[in-house]
């Protein structure tokens, strides 16, 4: 036995651990607090962003309409030639009848500008549909001019001095008269959803941009998905391991980080100038966006293919499948969730791109709804960009409304990505 006794009992590891627990718990709590603060900050910013957009944009989904009693004077509208009838004259007469004391050219112009210029065309459409109405006096609801619309929605303060606002005192009197007579109301703004762009905000809609976005995205998807997935399969399964392939891989990874406007310049130089493809067409936009999303799809597809357990492929090869058969029947189906997720995220990215498309000319003022992929068109983000530049007050709410529609599509696409991933998920 030892003569020297130890002064303290031998150290137990558990005692040291217990002594340090307080410090560890405190530092973990600090870290958790930081994490929660970060999330709160992020959510706060997101809420501010969405709040400001929605608060400005929700009124874009309503349009002010005015009820007019129009007398379809046979003298003004010839039954033989309905297209050439003086419909704007009919409307102007109806306004004069409502306010007979209005005189003087300037005042009359202000009176006529209470309703939209498109009112005449809507009346024309109604008469062409029912020619039997000629000679009668009918009531129709027509869209109000954008200044009236903005005022009626409450965006303009009555108390501002008259020189500082576009809507004048006499117009406000007439609008008050409409209100008394229940001749003015807000309705759901279907024009916003089914019309193309226009100089007049009350006639402007996003449908042209939506169709343009749809065609562009279709072209992008149809081109980038097969090429991207096939490239990923080749690089992952068949490519020899040499410097040349390494070089290609490095370049693909770098392309994912290139600013998107460079792809627009490429599109301008090669697709439009060299190949002579039509400017501003969805097809060219689709080509440019394909180049932009290919690296994203290739990289995510490769990651998905790598994640398939090699035992499955070995089993397929062991039964006598060729490498292509092993990949198509077994590896690719198992990698599908990852590939689809990457593709849809790439598409969502492409949907929100405007810089490369500006370069190829999709920034023009296009009023017609594009009928095919070679017609000139614009896309939703570019439409937002154009409207944001317009001076009319009514375009402010429409810009925010269009942003809400775009965000809605992006959220939808991300949800589809999540659902598809869950659908294809398998356990092995």
């Amino acid at each position: 036995m030892n003569n020297q006794q130890a002064d303290t009992a031998p150290r137990r590891a558990i005692d040291v651990i217990n002594a340090g627990m307080d410090r560890r718990k405190r530092s973990e709590k600090r870290f958790q607090l930081l994490g929660k603060l970060s999330i709160a900050l992020a959510i706060g910013f997101l809420a501010m962003l969405l709040g400001s957009i929605v608060s400005k944009g929700y009124s874009a989904f309503q349009q002010t309409y005015v009820k007019l009693d129009v007398h379809l004077d046979a003298a003004k509208i010839d039954a033989e030639n309905l297209n050439k009838g003086n419909y704007s004259g009919v409307i102007k007469e109806s306004l004069r009848n409502m306010f007979p004391d209005v005189s003087g050219r300037r005042e009359k112009i202000k009176l006529y500008s209470l309703v939209s210029q498109s009112a005449a065309y809507q009346l024309q459409a109604k008469v062409i549909e029912e020619p039997g109405l000629i000679g009668q006096t009918i009531s129709i609801w027509v869209p109000a001019d954008d200044e009236v619309d903005v005022f009626f929605k409450g965006h303009i303060n009555r108390d501002i001095a008259e020189e500082d606002r576009r809507i004048k005192d006499n117009q406000i009197r007439w609008i008050d008269h409409f209100i008394e007579q229940n001749r003015i109301e807000k309705r759901f703004n279907t024009t916003f959803f089914n019309a193309g762009d226009s100089r007049n905000p009350e006639s402007a809609g996003i449908w042209g941009a939506v169709v343009g976005s749809f065609y562009t995205l279709m072209v992008t998807l149809l081109l980038s998905f097969p090429v991207g997935v096939a490239s990923a399969i080749y690089l992952e399964e068949f490519a020899p391991k040499n410097k040349f392939i390494d070089f290609i891989e490095v370049n693909i990874n770098n392309l994912a980080a290139v600013p998107s406007i460079i792809f627009g310049l490429l599109g301008l130089a090669i697709f439009i100038n060299f190949f002579g493809l039509p400017r501003s067409a969805s097809f060219v936009g689709g080509l440019v966006l394909t180049l932009m999303t290919l690296p994203t799809i290739i990289i995510s597809s490769r990651a998905a293919l790598k994640s398939v357990p090699p035992s499955i492929k070995q089993a397929a090869l062991g039964v006598g499948a060729s490498p292509m058969q092993a990949i198509f029947y077994h590896v690719l189906p198992l990698a599908m969730p990852g590939i689809l997720t990457g593709t849809i995220l790439g598409m969502a990215q492409a949907l929100g791109e405007s810089a490369p498309l500006l370069m190829i000319g999709m920034v023009a003022f296009i009023v017609d709804i594009p009928a095919g992929i070679f017609d000139p068109s614009t896309v939703l983000p570019v439409q937002i960009f154009l409207w944001a530049d317009s001076p009319e007050r009514a375009f402010l709410e429409r810009t925010s409304g269009a942003i809400m529609v775009l965000l809605g599509f992006l959220v939808l696409m991300n949800m589809v990505a999540v659902i598809l991933r869950k659908q294809f998920e398998r356990r092995w």
Partner: protein, 297 residues
């Protein structure tokens, strides 16, 4: 004293095949020295299914199999035993050219099957792998239905197109693999939902569905419990009446139970080959004796 007796007892229990006479014979017969790495015993058989001559396998710089010669006979079970990392699985993979899927692997030498060298440049590996089937160590059924697992091979090789013929293949393969009774009413359920032993038998059924002539098994029972192992060993004995089977195993008892011939590998060399009885009871090489008596391994 007591401790030594116990150790002696353990040594005896490791080698149930050794009788006292065999042990006496063994200790008297001079063995080939440990340093000598030349193969001992009959590598060749008459009318072989596969004949391997001068096989060398390199993984990059590592020389994994050194100058191997071995025959695989018809309708026999050849087991390959040896310590870990000695080249058994590598050699097995040579027989159906699965080593081709490993980039750093280089195989030289000739492997003749029906008189044709399968390592030749003009040979298509796809039909080769259909006639030399493989069962892997960890059961790897496809994440599809049991029926789809079995039919994948016959479909891509065009062995049957008629719906009735395909169904017959499923039934026959599962019956031969001893799995039919357990899964006959759930052929559409995923293969991955079966137990470990059932999955391995499904993999065996999948392999025999393409009607191979040789079946390679790489430690097929190492991931299974004793009862499943017994079922598969019984299956192997039945299958050996129609096919040649090569099995790599870490369990010497398994090799002793099922195989006709045994080959002992050591660090890339084929040390000894012969009938199972002879290798386990009267090994000719000192290294073989060291391994089977448990002195190392």
């Amino acid at each position: 004293m007591n401790v030594e007796q116990e150790t002696g007892q353990k040594e005896m229990e490791l080698n149930p095949a050794q009788t006292k006479e065999a042990m006496d014979l063994q200790s008297k017969t001079p063995k080939v020295d440990r340093e000598n790495r030349e193969t001992v015993g009959d590598v060749r058989v008459d009318d072989p299914r596969m004949r391997c001559t001068d096989i060398n396998v390199h993984y990059g710089d590592k020389h994994a199999i050194k100058g191997l010669n071995l025959d695989v006979g018809k309708k026999e079970i050849l087991s390959m035993i040896g310590p870990s990392g000695c080249g058994k699985s590598t050699f097995l993979r040579c027989l159906n050219r699965m080593n081709d899927t490993i980039d750093s692997c280089r195989v030289t030498g000739t492997i003749e099957m029906d008189g044709v060298d399968i390592n030749g440049k003009s040979i298509d590996v796809v039909p080769l792998r259909a006639s030399v089937g493989m069962v892997f160590q960890k059961p790897n059924p496809f994440p599809k239905s049991i029926r789809e697992n079995i039919l994948f091979g016959p479909r891509i090789h065009g062995l049957a197109t008629d719906k009735d013929d395909l169904e017959e293949i499923v039934v026959n393969s599962l019956k031969k693999a001893g799995l039919w009774d357990e899964v006959k009413d759930r052929l559409d359920q995923p293969g991955t939902g079966l137990s470990g032993g059932q999955q391995q038998r499904l993999c065996i059924a999948r392999t025999i569905a393409v009607e191979p002539e040789i079946i390679l098994m790489d430690e097929p029972c190492s991931a299974l419990d004793p009862i499943s192992t017994a079922a598969i060993e019984e299956l192997m004995l039945e299958l050996s009446e129609s096919y040649s089977i090569c099995i790599v195993t870490h369990s010497m008892q398994q090799a002793a139970r099922v195989s006709n011939r045994t080959a002992y590998f050591h660090l890339g060399d084929l040390i000894e080959v012969g009938t199972t009885d002879q290798v386990f009871n009267a090994p000719l090489h000192q290294l073989t004796e060291d391994y089977i008596t448990g002195r190392f391994g």
